[in-house]
């Protein structure tokens, strides 16, 4: 057991929990809007970094490293999309989603979908899909955290897993969205420092990039190509498209990421946040893939490729620096896991419990239910991660592919296409997720050379267009939604009559918000 590394990690955990406590005192956590969206008061820098660090999970240090280690430069197709995922999402739906969610009084991404596509079925289907997929996604983060701590500390996997999981749950409990956003901000900085440090050390060790590539060419020249080891994916543009799309357009289909748009202080916050997101991505995204490639030379006989980056850090760096790198790896894992837990708890409590079980639930009760669900997911996740831990890469690609296929067209059309109606959105979510799931489960990518997300996204998009157009006469988009969309397209203050304008019969919370804001008050 390496004492220096452990001390670094303990210090890191204390800082993270300290930020959570500070956030809790800063924000009123008994208020639901404060707990779920940080009171919609998050600025561009924190928005960008919480969005990016949430999107960059333990996948970046386990899955990305593993993919690059086994497939060489092919892995960079994933980085190619990921580099622009943040700015794409912020520029396409960021400002409009912030404004529309404010007008409809939506506090979760799923509630927002129901308000835009009015029907209890919208929320039931979207919430069910989200809870299942986000729970799977968070499971991958638990496994990644457990594996990392086990390697560095020498603790048994069950103990390491328990420690990682406990820290995540404690600070998610503390302050809700604000705690998550500020810890994400801190962790995103640690991630940058850690990954650049390990990349620098690896490059120095191999004698520079040119020397590394020459050495890789001697092992297997196909690893230098864009088609994978032994040119496995040669000419398979459907698979390439999937690799690029899942982490670019994909951002717009992930509830835990698009929620960041709703929490922005201003719709226009999206503008600067987009620039910050790109800057952060330029520093971060490609580095784990590059370290994975360099690990081919540094650690040619690695038993578990998912540990490539951990092992490179362990092998090349002195203990004190390894501690920083390990903190960075834990930061990537925890900054995603906390957001996933908060989002899953929010959706299950607000979109299922309050909406369908107890519509009269108070804000305090809702926060308690959300926290209870976070704890339950943590406990169930712990035992699954303990008994049968799947590969992190597989789980993340599975969950993100289906989330993208299910929700990206619905979220995009919600602010851009006035004819997108309820039947179209519901059909799109069902058909898109089912297609992607069947493609994944049936390994159809191997026979068709089309990635699940490529097919799922295409089918989901076509479905929302065709079904919406075919059902315009029987299910027109309500006038108040069209009016809200017209207002959303404009840049400027929200008129008083448009605030919390959602039909109160569908959203009791809109009535609460309206009464709090008061009638007739013009937004500044």
């Amino acid at each position: 057991m390496n004492t220096t590394v452990i001390l670094f990690l303990v210090f890191y955990y204390v800082v993270v929990i300290g930020i959570g406590v500070w956030s809790m005192r800063r924000g009123a956590t008994d208020d639901l809007e404060g707990y779920l969206l940080g009171g919609r008061n998050v600025g561009p820098l924190v928005t960008a970094l919480t969005l990016q660090s949430t999107a960059m999970s333990g996948f970046m240090f386990l899955g990305a490293g593993s993919l690059a280690y086994t497939q060489g430069y092919w892995a960079f197709w994933y980085a190619a999309g990921d580099l622009g995922g943040g700015v794409l999402s912020l520029s396409v739906i960021g400002r409009r989603m912030r404004k529309l969610s404010r007008m409809t009084g939506s506090l979760t991404a799923i509630e927002y979908l129901e308000h835009r596509y009015p029907s209890p079925a919208t929320r039931m289907i979207a919430a069910g899909l989200s809870v299942f997929l986000l729970a799977a996604y968070v499971l991958a983060q638990f496994i990644a955290g457990g594996k990392g701590l086990e390697l560095v500390t020498g603790l048994p996997y069950p103990v390491a897993l328990l420690i990682a999981l406990t820290v995540i749950i404690v600070y998610t409990f503390l302050g809700g969205y604000l705690a998550v956003a500020y810890t994400d901000f801190f962790q995103s900085l640690i991630m940058i420092v850690g990954v650049l440090w390990i990349l620098g050390a690896a490059l120095i060790h191999v004698g520079g990039l040119s020397a590394a590539n020459a050495a890789i060419a001697e092992i297997d020249p196909t690893l230098l190509s864009v088609w994978g080891k032994d040119l496995e994916f040669h000419g398979q543009w459907g698979v390439v498209a999937g690799a690029v799309l899942v982490f670019s357009i994909g951002y717009m289909g992930w509830p835990h990421v698009v929620t960041r748009h709703m929490a922005m202080a201003q719709p226009k916050t999206a503008r600067l946040a987009g620039a910050y997101a790109t800057a952060w991505n330029l520093l971060f995204v490609s580095s784990p893939y590059m370290v994975g490639v360099l690990a081919i030379i540094i650690l040619p006989n690695l038993e578990d490729p998912e540990l490539a980056i951990f092992q490179v850090a362990h092998t090349l760096l002195p203990s004190a620096v390894t501690g920083i790198v390990m903190a960075a790896i834990m930061a990537a894992i925890m900054s995603t896991a906390d957001s996933l837990l908060l989002q899953t708890g929010s959706i299950a409590s607000r979109d299922l419990y309050e909406r369908f079980i107890n519509p009269k639930a108070s804000d305090r009760e809702m926060v308690m239910v959300s926290r209870g669900l976070v704890l339950t997911i943590g406990i169930v996740g712990y035992f699954i991660a303990l008994v049968q831990p799947p590969a992190v890469f597989d789980v993340v690609i599975f969950a993100t592919s289906i989330l993208t296929s299910a929700f990206a067209p619905a979220f995009i059309c919600a602010v851009w296409w006035k004819k997108a109606n309820t039947p179209g959105a519901i059909a799109s979510m069902i058909v898109g997720s089912l297609t992607s799931f069947v493609w994944e489960a049936g390994n159809l990518a191997d026979t068709t050379t089309l990635a699940p997300v490529t097919v799922g996204l295409l089918v989901s998009t076509l479905t929302i267009i065709i079904v919406s157009l075919a059902t315009q006469s029987i299910a027109p988009v309500p006038d108040h939604i069209v009016a809200a969309m017209n207002e959303t397209a404009k840049v400027g203050p929200i008129p008083k009559r448009m605030l919390a304008m959602s039909d109160v019969a569908l959203s009791p919370e809109a009535e609460q918000i309206e009464s709090i804001l008061g009638h007739g008050r013009e937004e500044p």
Binding site: F76, V226, P267, A270, G274, G492, I494
Partner: protein, 40 residues
Amino acid sequence: MFGLPVTTTLLIFGFPVLWVLYTIGFLVVSRHWSEKADES
């Protein structure tokens, strides 16, 4: 470059350039957003 095939070089360095250009384009197109009053 760096001993890599041209296509790999384009993949590694070309996409970052494209996203930087996209971001600059977004900032230019949305420059009037920040000139407007409080939108909250």
